[in-house]
Subunit: 385 residues, 4 copies
């Protein structure tokens, strides 16, 4: 029995690994250890840990390592405290492998604790290009990781170029597409009323048949702009006579700025067509997207899942720069005008078709299979050139 | 005035940056901030911070972040606590640039605190290849750093290959060669009696004109072997009828194993020709090396400084694998026989000549000049392919 | 020059020490060092640190030590991280005395860091009795402190009984009364419109001449009740046809429960006469209280300042149990009926007169004088029996 | 089944609680959870955790929280890190009660984590008087604890005076006497050769029939004196022509000073009659004491166990001031002369008889019984006056 430990520190990390976890849990050779920490255990961010347990998983350990204050200094501290906490956990539960997901700042804590403790580190979703602190974190983790499970062949190529051994890299597709596939298959039966099912706040139009989803994250290297960016999107969507479903940002540095701007608009009663959600189950969220006119913002969901689902996306700014994208994406800058022009283009053209750019929806199965078959993973590596 | 902050966490880091600090301190455009932490503030490791102050530098802040226990788990914790401590320090002293040196595990704390706080990070000595956890740390820091000051053109090439922009990389030579140059120039005037000047323990031969220096560090990914490796070297040097000057290892995971083995030999009275030092000023150490028959062990000093100084080196095992090396180095495995064979070769052949493989001894000046001229360093970077 | 360091970790701590700080700052023998941390540096809690700087003080160091999550576990972690942070700060700024204020959970971090580092610890407001975790914290700090500045003679008596030497205890009155005195003296000139001056949210009645102030803190040992208690107060005040000014609770464990219940009532449109404030300058808050019909809740302000100011107070539940109280206080249980009965009693009787139970408004001056004259404080103490 | 969690952070804590643990482990109503941390998990201090496991106990969790550096600042940091680590552990293993032992600085971490998390805290050995930081820690923990298991009726009286409710205090005797009783009963069968059984270093006399035991701890509030004190004892015992068995001090602030002084004497070959031990099983240590002429130093063992065993004790300085003592103790100051005079007195008079001042050797049984029967322990308490 191999102890395979997955550290989940945020809502999107869980939705990306969930399909793999379902397979890992059933594998007779694997003792699955789930550790929840950072924003995944916080009420303010929808307490993903509850969802994980509802999905039938046991939580091996919970750690609280989010240091409060929306400042960059607290991203660093959260990571430092994460290392302290996770190293104790690893020392007590003795994983044979540790899995870390993608590129959020605090995932570095998982990577350092595991690699410093000579536990083979499996990194999911390396080799992508986005800019921002995520970019630095993602590639730094690649250099700490011993096994790389990447989404696309372009990602694999980049990881090789960075000096990793080809035989340590596996293309699995992106696990986020697995949920998208599920949503796609069950679209008709899954349909639901988001307002009834999830506790949001804000305003609802009488006619909500046509609606737009907004998901905007603050960019940590552009904190001072976070408020202006939010203002720009708010102004754009306030001028569209459709229901807007807006999702609150994660607990990144800058989230406070976003919230402040939203509050100002709400208090001035400008958000008459906007309803705000804190979180939603991944599959419900995708179903919501499929029924929408388009998604607006800077979320990676617009690039990945929406490419597979064929949901039009207005991607604003640089946050997703460098990511491979399908025909569903229209890139715009932070101006009300650009956003509205893109929206008009979308509603006046035929809806795009889904693509398998980020995988075919079997990534979870593939990831679980690879992990199950790992053997004699060396923690010693040197640059491949 | 730019605030330039250097974090020093260990003896070798200081000796590698000292020549640059002397120039930075004199630069009218620069306010030099020195932060001392980890083993640099510990008595057990010779309290380098005292030497720094004796050299005329002010210490802006001191942090204690070494978590005790020679286990790997404590390397992780030391790094986590380092991030917590350094982020507070950076937040209070507001550096415009942060400099981190080389690849010791705890330097990751400096790199994370700075990069997460959007402070441009300058990395010294990236792009080298050594194996071991140092290898992972070094390249991960490269992916977090914004400016790269490397030792050799081969190192630059590697950093470019990893995806960094060529214009962010500068070849400065290795600053350790600066001290070597100084030692070389002043060799005759600098000569000293190490036993009189430094408080060591152990045994001294009557005739110490010919002597050998041993410097052996535990390899963190081979902890279980640390004791056997020490035993092998002890047995080899015990059988040579020359004075041995042995330097205690740094506070890495595994140091305890090394110490234990040494203690056993000492208690069995096997170490009749071995005298043990805890530390020595960098320049005295180099002068000592220059007067020696050779250096034995796995220290990088044998590869870098000794190449410049023309000191024969018996390099054991894999710790320095991948580093560019000069003609002074004989690579051997961990067997008494190999070590003795190499030693016999050395004493029966003419002494090798120094080479400028790692620079010409002006690295400190060059580093200071580049830092002084840095302008508009962007903290946003993306993979260069 | 003596370095006197005050650690401020929350809004109420600052308002209690402010008058003393003004005197300490002017003392030529004292170098005042202010360290801000925990909720005092957080936006969510009104960022008291900004107010401190606006009041003309320098901040010597800022630390972020609030670990997020409204759970008790995070109160512990916040305290642990506080010790780590403050010990570094103390080690770098070398205070001759450290002052800690009252009994919030995180003040224990100040007390431990100082006493463990052999820095004489001055505790303000020991010897009071309240129940709750505050009670444990307050007396534990008394046992760590070397000098005790207490509010009343009863408090002094209690500190003596706990085994402290009488000569280490000084009655200064409660510094919170200093602001109250100031507010009392300048009441007419200070009057202001709270809604115009402070950014709140909620509903305003047309006629706001008569109003009630509510301040309710969750009780950490009764977390599960926090929501019911809030509900009870909400229902009571919703049924009174006067403007309610409600202040959000501090970041204690349980604050989330309070907020949730408020949110539910707001979303059901039950809070038509309630306007919510996050924070207010201490003096404005007191002026607001003086103009009010009464204060409702479980805040110590109702017991201390309102006793001096002669503001009727409906004190609910056990949080203030054991505190000395004046004739202004009506104690009730958590039932809508009790609260309304007390309110009716108040509006149908003549307003009470202020008392000097907690001092005469010169506590700050007195505290500063005592600290200025401290000499040869021993950090060695033993139980006085 | 009640989860009863004991946190063990040092060798002496374990020896004091061991007998109670043996009973608790057998209690069908109790699930015993042992957490090991601080110096209890460090090689340098004999790794007590190994002994605990050898004694048949399971370790529920291990934490590394000793921050290196013999400075006071690191005692504070170790405590802070301890709180962070233990709060996570408690949150994951959910104890119904937490037990903390005596008064070492880091036990405060246990006390804070438990009391802040509303877990009833049981304190063993409160109410004693010793001076030093231990004194502050011990009484502060009393103010945080909900149940007090004290050694003597005088201790109970003091805890009552500090304001605790009499019904929360139980006199159990001191558990250290349990081992002493065991040693006393089995003295003849237990006898052993300490040098053969334990790995020490130093010098042995040919005739070791008569010997003296030295145990000296640095006093944290007198660090600058630690070296002089050690020197004084060394000089005294060096002049006695008997075998000395000297025990290394714990990892308190100041331990380094003690070690330094010892090293100097060893290197000057002054310690010809001294053999140094790092640690010994508690029972072997007591048997060793029973066979000795006397114990010299400032350890509490001389006051407690030796009073029961009738071992003469030369107690030096103020560390044990205020502790109840039997007729076996001679108090002296730090002068060679005083120590030698006391020694001469001892060898020229009849050996004293054991007393039951600290209990009758059934404390462990009594402690286990009380804990087993605890019911409805309230975590709410207020000063009893």
């Amino acid at each position: 029995m191999k102890n395979v430990c997955v550290v989940i520190t945020a809502r999107p990390s869980y939705s990306r690994i969930r399909s793999a976890l379902l397979y890992l849990k059933e594998d007779p050779n694997i003792n699955l250890q789930i550790v929840a920490g950072a924003s995944a255990v916080l009420d303010t961010y929808g307490k993903v840990v509850n969802q994980i347990m509802k999905d039938g998983f046991n939580i091996t350990a919970t750690v609280f390592n989010a240091v409060e204050g929306e400042k960059l200094v607290c991203s660093a501290k959260t990571t430092g405290l994460g290392i302290i906490e996770l190293s104790t956990v690893f020392n007590n539960i003795k994983p044979d492998y540790v899995i870390t997901i993608a590129d959020r700042f605090e995932t570095m804590a998982t990577a350092i604790a595991a690699s410093y403790m000579n536990i083979p580190l499996i990194h999911i979703q390396g080799g992508e290009v986005t800019g921002n602190i995520d970019e630095k974190v993602r590639h730094a983790i690649t250099k700490l990781a011993d096994v790389h499970l990447v989404s696309t062949s372009l990602a694999k190529e980049r990881v090789i170029k960075m000096g990793e051994k080809p035989e340590s890299i596996y293309i699995t597709g992106c696990p986020s597409i697995d949920i998208a596939k599920n949503a796609l298959i069950n679209y008709n039966t899954l349909k639901f009323d988001p307002v009834k099912k999830y506790n949001g706040v804000g305003n609802l139009l009488a006619d909500r048949n046509e609606y737009i989803v907004v998901m905007q994250h603050p960019v940590t290297t552009e904190i001072e702009d976070a408020r202006k960016q939010t203002q720009c999107i708010l102004e754009a969507v306030e001028s569209i006579d459709k229901q807007i479903y807006w999702f609150w940002p994660n607990v990144d540095a800058g989230a406070d700025e976003v919230s402040k701007e939203i509050r100002i608009h709400r208090e001035k009663d400008l958000t008459n067509n906007i309803y705000f959600f804190k979180n939603m189950s991944p599959i419900d969220f995708l179903v919501l997207l499929m029924g929408s006119q388009c998604i607006i913002g800077n979320s990676s969901v617009a690039i990945r899942e929406c490419s597979y689902l064929g949901v039009p996306a207005i991607n604003i700014g640089n946050r997703q720069i460098g990511r491979e994208r399908g025909q569903n994406v229209i890139d715009v800058s932070y101006t009300k005008n650009d956003i509205l022009k893109a929206y008009n283009y979308i509603i006046n053209h035929e809806r795009c078709i889904g693509e398998e750019l980020y995988g075919n929806g079997e990534a979870g199965k593939e990831i679980a299979k690879i992990i199950s078959q790992l053997e004699n993973i060396s923690i010693n590596k040197i640059l491949n050139y």
